[in-house]
Symmetry: C2
């Protein structure tokens, strides 16, 4: 690590994206004396409300990007669908952390799966689908149920189509607009877990304890830490995360979502393993518990990493539960303010809409 | 409490003053989904870096004050020397919390002492000093050492002159510019302690455990919580704080600085009592430990109070130590980032100067 590559207090972090993840990065940066400059598409977004500066422009606005690069000391993102050209433009001017390689490997589900397979990391069985014919062919091999997903721009269940017995294969492909897809075989998992890991500029690795996640309507609703799993399986999940970070020469926080698969063998012995579902090259909703539940939050950890500073301790403070406040669940705010031990986080979004993440609440049990 | 008087998420808190206290109020407000609009004299001040909006103007700029009042839902301050006319101008337009009465009673040391005496709360012996003759007369009664202080605008030991044996009384009065003063008799204290208390819009009271403070060159250097004192003395300190808050019909967080006086009577029994030194009608440096060391920070508590929301739990998390980083002590930041358990807070000040508060670090011991 060169000293030139490290920030000092008073320096400015440029964040691509103005949502709640950028907001919480900005707040963690501020605690450490760093300023944040947000690049977003709309004024007044959650992150803009707590940042020293904001540039409101499109990803393709090179004049705005150049001014933004000039004004910041490092660039990061809260959102993995930053166009490759935008990332490259910025990377030519200022350090972009995590680097463009992480975006390249995670923006496209097929590229991501191939990358994982190349590292020997277990994934669901999958096949590239470019037309309805390929889908008909592969569904036979992978079996049903299976999930057809667009290769790019999916989140919270968007861009997905479940193929069950009797589902019309042609309709599935058309429903996703005929975009390049990936077909993923079904994994009979016991629970969904994730690892929020971090890698410093010096290559140091740290990870928070594996947590387990519950979704409603494809949107994360509940995270519990630690996850219910055998210590050796948790260690395997950590090792996988470490391997991914090293392979990407990663700097910052990453989220690796996994399926926990448990089988009981004929002798009655329970065997667990993890299968990687998805990588998010950024801070992640399933890491929000760390703000109140760990010695260092995922946001501070990300800031430390991209600033070229030493990683903080990921030690957990107790048994933690994080619930998202989605849509009108945010109306619980008043009751939550009176609940002993509940720690409320609201994102400053003006309007609540169904499925919109409005805030979250953590509860830490000793 | 009327519902009209309470804020809702998305509303805006106007903060008078742009320093680190305003900064930490803004960050606590943001976590709860509230926006902050800072009124300060210089752009880019610590609080401006984390706020949704800033008005940069003088206290006397009524056009700017009117626009500011229009843009916010409640007004608070991080600094007790807001001119009375400014507070009155704003109070005619929006709720000012704590109210102008708190400013009136705490901006002038003589008024403050009279107010405390009126409540039957012990203070150091004192006398009003308007000229050198009065000083000569009263020093005879109060004895030496004694401290001559300007009635207004003193902080961190500024506007003070210690009168010891042999000190020239005329020189003391001239040193303070001939301003109206108060002469305070010496209190032989064992330690300095403070109570950070809060009162809600509904009159509810909460206080953090009494903490003890050490100063260097009249500037707070170290706070420890809890203070070393008998439980009944701590209870007395709480009661005094509660009485002050009620008398001021206060809304928000207050700091009451006290001397702990301990005497051993002829029978060998230790007797403790507290004597109030000073009131600060705002969040306070000696409450910074609460951010990492209590279930609710003083900043969140202040936000809850002025928003008309229920107060949070002030429960302490362990034994806590808070050290200020003053002047070039801020250079310790790099070492502090690697120290297990140390929690670093930097204020985003561009330039370090001797005596300037640049940040602080807390350490929580289980």
């Amino acid at each position: 690590m060169t000293l030139e590559a490290a920030l000092k207090p008073g320096d400015t972090i440029g964040v691509l994206g103005g949502g709640q993840l950028g907001r919480m990065i900005a707040m963690a940066a501020a605690r450490l004396g760093l300023k944040t400059h947000v690049f977003s598409h709309h004024p007044g977004e959650p992150a803009c409300q707590v940042s020293a500066a904001a540039t409101v422009a499109e990803w393709t606005d090179e004049a705005a990007l150049a001014r933004f690069a000039e004004a910041v000391d490092v660039v990061t993102y809260e959102f993995e669908n930053v166009p490759a050209a935008t990332a490259a433009f910025l990377a030519a001017r200022k350090p972009v952390r995590p680097g463009p390689l992480a975006l390249e490997k995670t923006q496209d589900r097929l590229v991501e799966k191939d990358f994982l397979r190349g590292l020997g990391i277990p994934t669901a069985p999958y096949a590239a689908i470019d037309n309805a014919g390929a889908l008909a062919r592969h569904i036979g091999q992978l079996g049903r149920p299976a999930i057809l997903k667009t290769r790019r721009f999916g989140y919270d269940g968007k861009g997905q189509f479940a193929l069950r017995e009797g589902s019309d294969v042609g309709a599935a492909f058309r429903a996703l607009g005929g975009a390049p897809c990936i077909l993923e075989g079904f994994v009979a998992f016991e629970r969904e877990v994730s690892v929020i890991g971090a890698r410093g500029l010096d290559g140091a690795f740290a990870a928070f304890d594996v947590c387990e996640n519950e979704h409603e309507n494809h949107i994360l609703s509940l995270t519990r830490a630690p996850a219910h799993m055998a210590p050796e399986t948790a260690a395997e999940a950590m090792e996988i995360t470490h391997k991914i970070l090293d392979a990407l020469d990663y700097v910052g926080v990453i989220a690796v979502e996994m399926f926990l698969v448990a089988e009981t063998d004929p002798a009655g012995v329970r065997r667990e393993r993890v299968v990687v579902n998805e990588i998010a090259p950024r801070v992640h909703n399933s890491g929000h518990w760390t703000t109140d539940g760990a010695e260092t939050s995922q946001f501070e950890q990300h800031v430390r990493a991209i600033a070229g500073w030493p990683l903080g301790s990921p030690k957990r403070r107790g048994r933690i539960e994080m619930r998202n406040l989605i849509g009108d669940q945010v109306e619980q705010w008043r009751a939550l303010l009176t609940e002993p031990g509940a720690c409320l986080h609201l994102y400053g979004k003006a309007e609540s809409r169904p499925g919109r993440k409005m805030g979250h609440v953590t509860r830490v049990y000793p």
